[in-house]
Amino acid sequence: MGILLNILYFIAFIVAAMAAGWLFRAIVIAISPRAIAKEMRTAPLTASFGLLMILLYTLVAIFAPWIAPFPETEIVGREFQVWDDVNWLGTDALGRDMLTRMIYGARNTVGIAFATTALAFVLGSILGLLAATVGGWMDQSLSRSVDVLMAIPSLIFSLLLLTIFGTSVLTLIIVIAIIDSTRVFRLARSVSVTIVVMDYIEAAKLRGEGKWHLITREILPNALAPLVAEFGLRFCFVFLAISALSFLGLGIQPPTADWGSMVKENATLITFGDITPLLPAGAIALLTVSVNFVVDWQLHRASGLKE
């Protein structure tokens, strides 16, 4: 009976999600200028649901201090309180309000993960495209350096770097971005080596185009689809990396709220059958799924795939 009920809940959730997606799409089409409305019409329900979720996360992250019922680090009660009218999602291991921590966590985790992934992509794609375009010694030296970086297990390497440079948010972002950019570099390079041998690149070179024009106007538009797809995936991995580092005490430092460490801190509750510690994990899952919905849609359009 319990399983049946759970299945029912699950179906209800999917239906509600799709309905929300549909409603969101209808509203966007109605209120936005024609160009955006035209784009939105091509969005499947999954993508518009994803967009809605990303929008909600963004709003929550931006307006966290106004939405959250309590300050981020204030101890408001006893530890591990159950859900009630004051603390909607109960309290954590130190007695801080769980909902508040979730809301601030959106700001910290999502912000840092996004900044890291974006930086990794800018760095990795530019270098990858450059290596493929210039070739020769440039390609060799960049590729071999990346090989060296990739030869060191990424978690151990980031632990090492963070211990050396300290654990501020900025170093965290830069360290993970550099380690992650090696993966992006490989992808960008392997995609563009097949593009640089095309006749239109030869034509552009013979025209006397500079490197920058070659990379941005001729190669990048053709390499974008796989890069966008990788972005969605990398974003999730960066979440995991930050959570793992937080677990080891080198990531986002307490008392800053972070979804990854929140799972760890409250893990003992799971043994009592309480789902509260899983909520931050759920928030991560929902966001990554949403991002990938949107990425799939864009990928579909960019690559001109048809069923």
């Binding site: 006749d199 034509a203 013979l206 025209r207 006397g208 001729e218 048809k306």
Partner: protein, 546 residues
């Protein structure tokens, strides 16, 4: 109907075949009711332009459609079996065993990771026709019949260790492995040189005759189909135009469209007066020796190209035609020799050339698909050279783009904001021409610009190039392996073989005997519309050799 087959039993009947293709969320009919009857041992030629539905109909004869297509009407009966409603198992038993398929590019169709023999044996062993050992000895026999060199050992090579023509023959042998009743040949010689094409055509024809196999031969080359088919069916945009036996079809086509196909090789460039002595050529290639790594691809190549003249560079693949173009454009630095432009030596590396030197020499590529950036709009594709070299901006630039589109006979309002994927093959090639013109060059290299196009479309491109040459005093270097194109457009001909210039001179002289033996071979290998041409040619060559 040809009488010789009238009493044979009918193998394949296709009635009212309709096929739909999926485009932008809706189904569009691409074959509108084609009928087809094939008797045992008969060869039917399917011809038409690309997009006529030749391959689609050919594949449907096996009960197969490409992804995104579906058979929406009609019936396909193969030896009494309804292929449209047959179970997957029935179809699987038929395919490879009783119906076989030979694809256009054998190089792309063989699995590069397995030896030819392994791929040959797969079908007979899978279908239980014969055991592995038997299949291997059978393969050697067929390789011998296909006149492949070293038939005993060639099967143990990998596809990349065998030449293109040999691979195509190995593929035909593979299709014969189960002695099928029907083989579908989908443009099996289109990717080959004329001299290689003959060998493959002769081998295919022999083997089909020997085993009394019925075949559907798909091609866009009329002269080839004239050699191969007993009957010809002409298709246009998914409709049948007409069908008749080969001789009737060639001598007395009924429909206007068929007549236009027949007349297509008629364009010839007006004879130009000889260049006055002492004129400085636009481009002069002087004693160029060049190569990759340690190998010399070109040895001591010299020729001149004058203003308003077209020099056709002819030869098989691997003869160094494209390498010559790479030396002229500066992509390949020659070991010895130099390239003069208007009497001035060009820096050998394109990166050292001035912007103006780059502007003066433009290039049009063979594959317009890969020569145009698929993500850029026509506006930017054509506009970029004009913007770079001539400094045009804003309104002036748009005006220039529109002018160029007018020149290549495309309606500016319709096309200026399209992507290359929204154009047909011929239109893409026109954009390639416009991009070259946008730089206002003196000299254009045309690298096999028509070889990927249908004959009617190619004809249009040649006419356009001819018109532009007169209008802008252009010098052309025309790389081609197709001698019909040479006849149509060249003033002078340079014949190349193995990186050397074998013969050069005005067109009128080149097409008159006496020839160099290699030129002779090239000239005699161009298929003619006469259905007896191949038979006669093979007899002549055998007589000479014997």
């Amino acid at each position: 109907m040809s009488d010789q087959f009238a009493d044979k039993e009918v193998l394949l009947t296709v009635k009212g075949l309709k096929i739909e293709g999926r485009a932008d969320e809706s189904w569009m009919q691409i074959v509108n009711g084609v009928d087809l009857t094939l008797r045992k041992g008969e060869v039917l030629g399917l011809i038409g332009e690309s997009g006529a539905g030749k391959s689609t109909v050919g594949l449907a004869a096996m009960g197969f459609t490409r992804d995104g297509c579906r058979i929406s009407g009609g019936e396909i009966l193969f030896d009494g079996i309804d292929l449209r409603h047959a179970s997957t198992k029935t179809l699987r038993d038929l395919k490879g065993k009783r119906i076989a398929y030979v694809a256009q590019s054998a190089a792309a169709s063989f699995n590069p990771a397995h030896k030819l023999m392994d791929q040959y044996c797969e079908a007979p062993v899978q279908h239980g026709v014969m055991g592995r050992a038997e299949a291997e000895s059978d393969a050697v026999d067929l390789y011998r019949r296909m006149q492949l060199p070293e038939p005993e050992s060639i099967g143990f090579r990998y596809p990349h260790q065998v030449s293109g023509g040999q691979l195509q023959r190995a593929m035909t042998a593979m299709a014969m492995s189960c002695r099928p009743d029907l083989i579908i040949f989908d443009e099996p010689t289109t990717a080959l040189d004329v001299t290689t094409q003959i060998e493959v055509l002769a081998a295919i024809r022999d083997i089909v005759e020997q085993f009394d196999t019925a075949a559907i031969y798909i091609t866009h080359d009329l002269a080839v189909v004239a050699q191969m088919a007993d009957r010809i069916k002409v298709l246009l945009k998914g409709d049948e135009v007409e069908e008749a036996d080969t001789r009737t079809m060639l001598s007395a086509p009924q429909e206007d469209y068929t007549k236009s196909l027949w007349a297509v090789r008629s364009h010839t460039r007006a004879e130009q007066p000889p260049v006055p002595k002492g004129t400085t050529p636009v481009v002069s290639v002087r004693n160029v020796t060049a190569g990759y790594g340690a190998v010399d691809v070109l040895t001591d190549v010299s020729f001149d190209i004058h203003q308003r003249r077209t020099v056709a560079v002819v030869g098989e693949s691997g003869s160094g035609k494209s390498t010559t173009a790479r030396v002229i454009t500066g992509l390949l630095v020659p070991r010895r020799g130099e390239v003069l432009f208007d009497g001035q030596a060009l820096p050998p590396d394109y990166r050292r050339r001035t912007r103006d030197q780059l502007r003066q020499a433009q290039m049009i590529y063979q594959m317009a698909d890969t020569a145009l950036n698929p993500k850029l709009k026509i506006r930017e594709l054509i506009g970029r050279p004009a913007q770079m070299y001539l400094g045009l901006q804003g309104k002036a630039l748009t005006e220039r783009i529109r002018q160029l589109l007018d020149l290549i006979e495309l309606e500016p309002d319709d096309y200026i904001d399209r992507l290359p994927s929204e154009l047909s093959g011929g239109q893409k090639q026109r954009i390639g021409i416009a991009r070259a013109l946008a730089a206002e060059p003196k000299f254009i290299i045309c690298d096999e610009v028509t070889s990927a196009l249908d004959q009617l479309v190619a004809e249009g491109i040649l006419k356009l190039l001819d018109k532009l040459q007169t209008e802008f005093d252009l010098a052309y270097m025309f790389i081609t392996h197709d001698l019909a194109t040479v006849k149509a457009i060249a003033d002078e001909v340079v014949v190349m073989k193995e990186g050397k210039v074998i013969e050069q001179g005005p067109k009128s002289e080149m097409f008159q005997p006496p020839h160099d033996p290699y030129t002779e071979l090239l000239l005699s290998s161009v298929p003619e519309m006469d259905p007896d041409w191949l038979t006669d040619l093979l007899r002549d060559r055998a007589a000479k050799a014997g």
